[in-house]
């Protein structure tokens, strides 16, 4: 597949949606008038993805175990496709996220959605930073004991 300028923005969008709570996605959808008429091209479905690791972090691939994943593909009346793939088993979230992905490609609603997703991304970043700052509070600050002085 040749490099597609739209692919990267879609990858970012799907990554934000995968981490967003269902409630937030629902709220975002309401800001653009709620769920539009659509067809579930791939009805929301829960399955698994086998998660691969690498020996030593960098070596031979091995199967660590599976993770539950729920996916959905919707098609709007104008033919636009929306995808969602995320960890977990929330089928409602899968449909809502797929609708957001579809509407994000719409000329009118796209910018509103993009702004909403940017807000969600900031929230996610803030959560991550807070967890990291808590961990940072447990970082050891070594200091050298001064020895052998009178």
């Amino acid at each position: 597949m040749e490099p597609d300028p739209l692919v990267e923005s879609r990858q970012r969008r799907l990554a934000i949606l995968a981490r967003a709570p269902r409630q937030e996605i629902e709220t975002l959808l309401e800001t653009v008038g709620g769920a539009p008429p659509h067809e579930a091209l791939k009805a929301p479905e829960t399955g698994t993805v086998i998660v691969e690791g690498r020996a030593g972090g960098t070596g031979r691939r091995f199967n660590l175990g599976e993770a539950t994943v729920t996916r959905c593909v919707v098609r709007l009346e104008d033919g636009t496709l929306g995808y969602s793939y995320a960890l977990g088993r929330d089928k409602t979230k899968a449909r809502l996220a797929a609708l957001i992905d579809a509407l994000a490609q719409d000329a009118q609603r796209g910018p509103v959605i993009a702004a909403g997703l940017a807000r969600l991304a900031l929230d996610q970043q803030a959560l991550r930073a807070l967890a990291s700052r808590k961990a940072a509070a447990t970082r050891v600050e070594f200091f050298t004991m001064v020895r052998g002085e009178g």
């Binding site: 690498r54 960098t58 070596g59 031979r60 993770a67 808590k134 961990a135 447990t138 970082r139």
Partner: protein, 370 residues
């Protein structure tokens, strides 16, 4: 004489009800919710996800509730559920080097880039009861540091590797897809991919015992905890219909890089060799044990003697799975009336023959009866 019988159906249905009642315990005590288990019993949830071989904290919490906290029964529930799900595909290999660190320590290197981050650990607790927990109302008091940690931290063996003193961990030619022991039966000698998968889903207690044995003289181990890290790693997957990677979200993972001294062999110069452990959730004891046994199982590859259980892959791989082990041990509870009746008849016959011979004054008995 064996008589075929049927029955027990009413009794079995009643056990389901009695089990439910026993599980619920005293109705005067509030019922526990899976979300409480997920949030407040996270280490048990991690264990069930690992041994059930399915990452889903909500389901693992439900399994623990349903199994009254029996982790093997809970893992069994998870495995059974897993078989009902379609598999969409395989993830891209995880990059633990890009982990958002919550804990990261090295017992080998004091001043490592990124620092020693203790994280949420019982290591420095005094193992004294906190009776305040009896009353509830725990209030966390941590003041976060002003600045977050570095976005990513290098893995310790990768740092040592730069000096060439560390066994390299590079993918084999062509970076082949890993063997999946849930899809095909294992044959021996087993590859490292098979061993790591089996250990990742193996029983923590069994892995701990084996890992311990290598330190106690039943293996040639001189290990250092090169690095232990805990945190979140993004997992992504390429759906066939999209043709590009989709980020599915973050997995909480524990990783251990064990470093072992190696005196060298005919083909390999003296260097440090490695053992690796990786698991879902916070499962530090599991990944350390796994890393010790991973190293022990490299004995054959490194031309070492393989005299001890932890070095013998058939022994380790065939006995690590606690759902299989529990099934085979516990199947002894099932009716064996016919088998037993057969044995009973046999013993009675041999006994009668023996007594007949003794009565006739023959005292030299044959070795054994078939």
């Amino acid at each position: 004489m064996y008589v075929a019988v049927k029955g027990g159906e009413a009794a079995i249905l009643a056990t389901h009800e009695l089990l439910a009642e026993t599980r619920r315990g005293d109705p005067a005590v509030p019922e526990i919710a899976p979300a409480q288990i997920r949030e407040q019993m996270g280490l048990a949830v991690a264990r069930v996800m690992n041994e059930g071989s399915l990452y889903d904290p909500d389901l693992a919490a439900l399994a623990l509730k349903q199994a009254q906290g029996d982790t093997i029964e809970a893992a069994f529930l998870l495995r059974a559920y897993r078989t009902t799900l379609p598999r969409f595909g395989a993830s891209l290999p995880l990059d633990t080097g890009a982990m958002a660190i919550r804990r990261r320590i090295s017992a080998a290197y004091k001043d490592l880039p990124g620092g020693q981050v203790l994280g949420p650990t019982y290591d420095y607790t005094h193992r004294l009861f906190d009776f305040a927990l009896e009353e509830g109302g725990e209030t966390p008091a941590l003041t976060p540091a002003p600045a977050p940690l570095a976005e990513t931290m290098p893995r310790v063996p990768d740092i040592l590797g730069q000096e060439g003193l560390m066994e390299a961990e590079a993918p084999p030619e062509g970076d082949p897809a890993p063997f999946d022991l849930t899809r095909a039966s294992v044959s021996f000698p087993a590859g490292r991919d098979v061993r790591l998968q089996a250990m990742a889903r193996g029983d923590e207690g069994f892995m701990l015992g084996l890992g311990y044995s290598t330190q106690r003289g039943y293996g040639n181990a001189h290990p250092f905890a090169g690095e232990i890290r805990l945190g979140e790693v993004a997992v992504s997957f390429v759906p066939e219909e999209l043709g590009f990677a989709v980020d599915l979200g973050d997995l909480t993972l524990s990783e251990c890089q064990m470093i072992n001294q190696f005196a060298g062999s005919k083909d390999i110069p003296p260097q440090f060799t490695r053992g690796y452990g990786l698991a879902f959730g916070h499962a530090e004891r599991k990944v350390m044990s796994m890393a010790l046994v991973d190293r022990a199982l490299k004995a054959r590859d490194l031309g070492e003697a393989a005299d001890y259980p932890a070095q013998q892959e058939e022994f380790v791989l065939y006995h690590a799975d606690n759902v299989e082990a529990a099934g085979f041990v516990e199947h002894l509870k099932l009716p064996h009336y016919v088998d037993f009746q057969g044995e009973l008849e046999l013993i009675r016959r041999i006994r009668a023959e023996r007594e007949a011979r003794l009565a006739k004054g023959q005292d030299h008995l044959p070795e054994a009866a078939e």
